[in-house]
Symmetry: C2
Subunit: 146 residues, 2 copies
């Protein structure tokens, strides 16, 4: 038995409209669903990326078939990284600059790979990274780091 | 330009040893790297799953090539879901019971798919879900929900 991978990665944002605007307009993700004041969900590659309003999901149960879904809701800056092919990284950098998104950091990892860091409107640390950062890309070997 | 998928999904835990024990022994993830008191990283399918100690990553910069990596660190229960093939779900349920991990909820989604929810030692809401939950599995169509 082995887990197939991460199916849902989540971040939290009290202002869901600002979050949706950012992830749709800047990061070009496709909205999969939303419930006003509670969440906005995005499709992303082979999984989904979920933004929840922690003031809602941390305190108000949602019921499915009469059973409550477990509560969760974090505060403070979380982190997510999206995969970007090496050859697309320069284009993403230019695009973020055009969108006047401040690049907080740009890292060329000693073991290979490259990352761009910036913030979403809720202050979460968002990263675009090439798969080689984790030894998952074209280059061989694993590169545990950070 | 399109993001290839989620490369890093993250949760936070002040007790990293308890977290590592849980994710290795119960969820059978493979450790990719650790820094005592700061983080433990796991490989998971086509990406990685990262646990950070928010008391560290939220306040103490880590430098790569002389540049600081952006700070992040959330508190309160976060959420992650791992993909599990439908045919493996009963086996995972039995395994969690054998490991005396309380199942907080089991959901058969109206649109298809099934989820098991439980907590990690830090109180994060962990879910095992079949890909059909998101219309990503054998069955067709998308099933936005939650």
């Amino acid at each position: 038995m082995e887990l197939a991978g991460v199916l849902e990665a989540c971040l939290y944002a009290p202002d869901l409209r600002a979050a949706e605007n950012f992830y749709v307009l800047v990061l070009k993700l496709q909205v999969l669903g939303r419930v006003e004041g509670r969440h906005v969900f995005f499709r992303c590659g082979r999984g989904v990326f979920l933004i929840f309003n922690p003031q809602h999901t941390g305190t108000i149960p949602t019921f499915v078939n009469g059973k409550p879904i477990p509560l969760h809701g974090a505060t403070g800056p979380g982190h997510v990284a999206f995969g970007v092919p090496s050859e697309a990284m320069d284009g993403w950098r230019r695009w973020l600059e055009q969108q006047t998104v401040p690049i907080e950091a740009e890292v060329h990892w000693p073991e290979g790979g490259r990352s761009l860091y910036f913030r979403d409107p809720a202050g979460n640390s968002v990263e675009l990274a090439t798969p080689e950062v984790w030894g998952l890309g074209e280059s061989s070997g694993t590169a545990p780091r950070r």
